[in-house]
Amino acid sequence: MTRVFISRDTVSVALGADEVAEAFVHAGAEVVRTGSHGLFRIEPLVEIETAQGRIGYGPVDPEDVGKVLDATHPHRLGRIADLPFFASQQRFTFARCGAIDPVDLDDYAAHGGWAGLDTARALQPGEVVAIVKASGLRGRGGAGFPTGIKWQTVLDAAGPEKFIVCNADEGDSGTFADRMLMEGDPYCLIEGMAIAAHAVGAGYGYIYIRSEYPSAIATMREAIRRSADRVAPFTLEVRVGAGAYVCGEETALLESIEGKRGQVRAKPPLPAIAGLFGKPTVINNVLSLAAVPFILAEGAEAYAAVGFGRSRGTMPVQLAGNVKNGGLYEIGFGVTLGDLVERIGGGTESGRPVRAVQVGGPLGAYFPPSMFHLPFDYESFAAAGGLIGHAGITVFDDSVDMARMARFAMEFCAAESCGKCTPCRIGSTRGVEVIDRIIATLPSPLVGEGGAKRRMRGSEVRDTSECPPHPSHAFPLPQGEGESQITLLRDLCDTMKFGSLCALGGFTPYPVLSALDHFPEDFGGATALPVAAE
């Protein structure tokens, strides 16, 4: 019987993979549901097992079954690993994602699974921590804190009870790597957590998954059930969030697992000393934990050999937004932003010029193409007034209105603030008002209504008679009003930056200020920087 591989990743399913799989079952094929390789343009992707390896076709419609089976389908892609998008990757963490049946324990073991855990369990806890330190692995959740040092603190902390908590809240727009790994290779995360448990002496672990990820929740639960004996005496449990972005912040997440409002705790004490239920706790992102099996199996040097400066190893980059080759791209740090967006991402899907790229989710800065030379690593992005965060890259074409995006950043902060500190809780609401006033001083007309209201950009202004007059035309604001509001906005950002307890209030200024700095024309200012690609 022909063996056929079709992804059950949420993206693939949303694009019709279930119907395609059903059609192949009907046609008598044996269908294996895998995770996604992560090039969404070719999903739903079908791979047929042949003597030459798996041959891919995609995107495939349910009606195309016959043509795929007799190899006459026009979307024949050859071996997926040979496509330029995949051939240029270094897949340390995502090596199995797309290749295996996610919950099949034999498949996992046959593809190198558990080698890292077996290595770790033959070592003393301190030795495991030393290996993770030597690998140079830094937390992939955003802040980039060295994972080995965090583990050392928990190992050294006294106490009979310790916890491993996996942060799978992944709330940033433009990020989906945690979801893909949990749906496509859940044992990799489980193995990483079991290694962490051995390294610090923890017996129990929680995976806190956002409620927006039902498929990841189901897959993780199934995988935990099936691998319980393999990881015993370590025990794992899934906890489901309840729709609060701030619960991605590590202390708010701990509060949430404890059954409380997800409010941020002041630090110290660090969670490593007094974390979940007051006990020493390792809290790491999905990708940090999932990087560990490779490090233990292949050695710290193999991991550290890849990377750039103090950013070692690989980063699963997520190409999102208006980009042609959107998806997951794992590569060593140091590739430039421009390479990621233009060469690998293929530029915009709309075919229009790239105008802005937001890196690192809703708290990340917007960059113009003139900054595409930036190497992708923690330090370079921090020096350029941004962050790589969870490595989500959201591409916008030239129809974007940056004043509107700045407003959205403030609006999001206001909606998601945990309410603990004033600069974040009140400042973000003021921020929306100030940006509204700036927009009101601008002469160009608005297109659209209500939530979709945006100003036209120069090239779009044609017949203004069709556009409803904006209040600002009827009641022009005083001369210089825009400028003084911009000064006010910068002040406000300063207050939020330095007066907030956590990065939600503290980093919301990044998208706002970067929009102001790099795209002043959208706020009524003169063009400051020559934009190279335009």
């Binding site: 729709g243 208006n322 974007v400």
Partner: protein, 155 residues
């Protein structure tokens, strides 16, 4: 809903949820799944079952966006409003949905049948604009596709 139905449900969910530490969120998720929303009348029972104050439980129910305090509309259309979906034309889809359903973002249609809610990213950011319509995730929305989908829920 009578108090006895609530007590039954709590008792049924209790052995699973209350021997675990931090049982409040899992219990509330379970109750909302069963009743569709967290009735204010449930709060004292939950508080008693978990040995918490009513204020604690109320505080949690109101903090999280997922928990509803009113019965939900029959159909729920959740649109992603986050940046990546905006970059792919999400604002136009939002506008179209508002017009098509005759309700605002966060509102419910006058007949109480359809609610339009915002969601901030569902992790399909390269194939937006995305939505969750009655629990089913739909991707690559455009005008005609949205119309077709909304027709099914508003028919």
């Amino acid at each position: 809903m009578g108090a006895s139905a609530y007590l039954d449900a709590i008792r049924r969910l209790m052995p699973r949820e209350t021997d675990t530490r931090g049982a409040l969120l899992p219990l509330l998720h379970g109750l909302q799944e069963e009743f569709g929303y967290i009735d204010d009348a449930l709060v004292p029972h939950v508080a008693e079952a978990l040995n918490l104050s009513r204020a604690d439980v109320h505080g949690v129910v109101t903090f999280y966006h997922d928990f509803r305090r009113r019965p939900p509309a029959r159909h729920i259309v959740r649109l992603c409003r986050a940046e990546s979906c905006q970059a792919r034309g999400g604002n136009a889809i939002e506008q179209a949905a508002i017009e098509r359903l005759g309700t605002s973002m966060g509102g419910t249609r006058a007949d109480g049948e359809v609610a339009l809610e915002a969601v901030y990213c569902i992790g399909l950011c390269a194939t937006g604009p995305n939505a969750i319509i009655n629990g089913k995730i739909v991707s690559r929305l455009d005008g005609p596709k949205l119309d077709r989908l909304l027709e099914q829920v508003t028919a």
